[in-house]
Structures are given as C-alpha cells and as structure tokens.
Symmetry: C2
Subunit: 197 residues, 2 copies
C-alpha cells in the first residue's frame, strides 16, 4: 500500500470492472483526482442513476426506464411481428439499421447446457405467454454461435405448432468481405441459400 487508502480503494473498484487491469485502474484514479469535483459527482450520479432507474420492460424484457418500454408502447410500430434476440445489445444493433419496425423479445441469454443455462433461465415462458394470436411472424435473431443455433432450433420447435410463421436471419457472405477469407461454414451456407439474379 503505497497510495493513500481512498486512492487504493478507487483503484480496486476500477480494476474490478471488465477489461480494466491494475495499471489502467491506477491511471483512471489519477485522472479522477485531477478532475473538477463536479465532474466526479456527475460520474458517481450516473452510476447510481442507472441502477435506480433502469428496470426490465415487463413485456419484452429489454432494459428501460418506464415499463412497458418505448418500443412496446409505440403505436406507430408494427405489433404483428416480433423479433426474438439474446441480449439488449442486439436490440440496439437492429434498431440502428432503421430497417425493422416491429416488436422485440429479449431472452437474456442463449441456451448453453455446458454453462448450466437451460430453457427456464431464459425468458421463454414469457415469450410463449405473448403468443395470443396477435403475431403473424416471429423472427429468431440469435447470434450465429453454437448456443444461438441451439436456441433457434429449440424455439422453432416450440413456436411452429402454434401456427405462426417462424423465420430466422439469412446466413451468407457478410457485405464487404472477400470470398478468399470467408470461412467454409459460411461459404457452404451462402451456396445453399443462393438466389437467382
């Protein structure tokens, strides 16, 4: 302990965050010491605020300040289509495209038996409760990982018997990439799903 106690404590707190090692934590603490007091209070307030204000939307399970969230309560959006994603970040990624104007459902994670994540750990029960016949299409937008794939298969088996159209995101060559450097699994998918021009 070469630092004053309160500096040491701040360094400890910073280095407990993901991607911040001991050295970066120390650099951040030194930066904080040099900041005007009001700015440090702002950071502290933003931290407390986010924990106090943010909750899960009771409909789609995305992060929100008011429940139901702005997307679920937006009458201008298409309430007959629903996009199922793993994570709140996926909602942001899709919203950024400005292409999709339907509803969402955030599972919270993907099925991963090895990590002990089963169907009861995801918001699947809550998804099925929303299936009151008002949806015409369900888009399964899982990550392109083994866990995402397993979740897609699991959900499609559950949802298809309900008589609703179940779709998934297209797999293929990402825009801007070279065929030469595209992995074989992606190339196989792209060949299988080839379309007439």
């Amino acid at each position: 302990m070469y630092n004053a106690e309160s500096i040491e404590q701040l360094v400890d707190e910073f280095s407990s965050l993901p991607g911040i090692g001991r050295k970066s934590a120390h650099r951040l603490a030194m930066h904080i010491l040099k900041l005007p007091k009001q700015e440090v209070l702002n950071i502290a307030e933003a931290l407390v605020n986010v924990k106090e204000k943010i909750k899960y939307c009771a409909v789609c399970w995305n992060f929100t300040e008011e429940s139901p969230c702005k997307i679920c309560s937006n009458a201008q959006r298409n309430h007959s289509i629903i996009c199922v994603v793993e994570d709140p970040n996926d909602v942001i990624a899709i919203e950024k495209t400005h292409e999709y104007k339907g509803m969402y459902h955030v599972l919270g994670d993907a099925l991963s038996p090895l990590d002990g994540i089963g169907p009861e750990d995801l918001k699947i029960k809550e998804l099925l409760q929303r299936m009151d016949g008002s949806f015409q299409e369900i888009i399964l937008a899982m990550n392109s990982s083994i866990e995402g794939e397993a979740t897609t298969i699991y959900l499609s088996k559950l949802l298809k018997p309900l008589g609703v159209k179940v779709t998934r995101l297209a797999r293929g060559i990402p825009i801007g990439s070279d065929l030469e450097f595209t992995d074989q699994a992606t190339l196989v998918r792209a060949l299988e799903a080839r379309v007439e021009v």
Copy 2:
C-alpha cells in the same frame, strides 16, 4: 439514442475517461447494469471519497489523506535526504523498490515551455523553502525525457549554490535488456558512465 437515457448518460461519462472508447464505455455500462446495487454504490462512493479525502501534503505536495503525509511525518525515515520527482506516481515507483527511506518533494510536472509550463507552475518555490540546511543530499529523479532533463538542469543550477550535495539517478542499460535493442543515446550514456568491475 437507442438506449434508455440513464444508460446513455453513463456511457457518456465512461467514454470521457482516458483510454475508454465508446464501445468499451458501452460494455462497462452493461456490466454495471448486471452488478448488484451495493457494488455500484461502492464504486460511486469510492469516486466521491477520493475527491473529498485526498489533498496535497503541505510539505512534499504528494497526494495524502492527512497533511503532513505518512512519509513526511514518519520519524523512522531519513529526514536529511530528499528525492525530487515530477509526479505522485513516481513516489509510488520509488517506494516499491524498498531501497529509499528518505523524504520526497513532488513538483507536479516537468518544465515544458512549449506546453506553457514554467518554473512558477511547479512546486519549486516550495522546494526552496524546505532548504533550511537540514538536508545533506538532494536526489533529482526526473523522467528521462527532454522536459525531465531541462528540469534537472534548472533545479541543479538553483540548488548547488545552496551548498547542498545534488545528485541524479544513474543512466545506463536497463536490467534485462539486449544491447542490440538499446537505443544509441542510452548506449553512449552507459559507455561514458562505465565502472570498473
């Protein structure tokens, strides 16, 4: 704005910190959302604490919770030798060696006319005020940069007339490094300062 407002605000605060870009800030905010509330309160408290408790030691100008600091008020340390450094971090680096048991003086920065940092911006006046004849040796431990070098020369010209022994850190080959990859300036210094074995 695809996030709830309070998340967006936290992302803004995080990305204002050095070395944290927009993506890392977002990852950190998501981590904060998943933390137990008490842990987030701890981080916020550590931030506020550090600003409220930490001040400069009125003797050596290092960061401290009580003034004079633990080093200045430690009777077991050698009060007849003083090590002048640029930054509080340099005190920590030297303390970690367990080699030096004297006093310190933190200048706050190094002379850098191009950045508008002159002698009056450093704690040089305060250093001269400490020169009451009680010190037998002053070690100038500036960084090995152009600014550090300028500061060393400036201080030695000020201090030598006071009749006190002024020393500086040895320059040479760092331990564990290859001669092949050592820069020429360092090699020249190491040759000049060669010692008999």
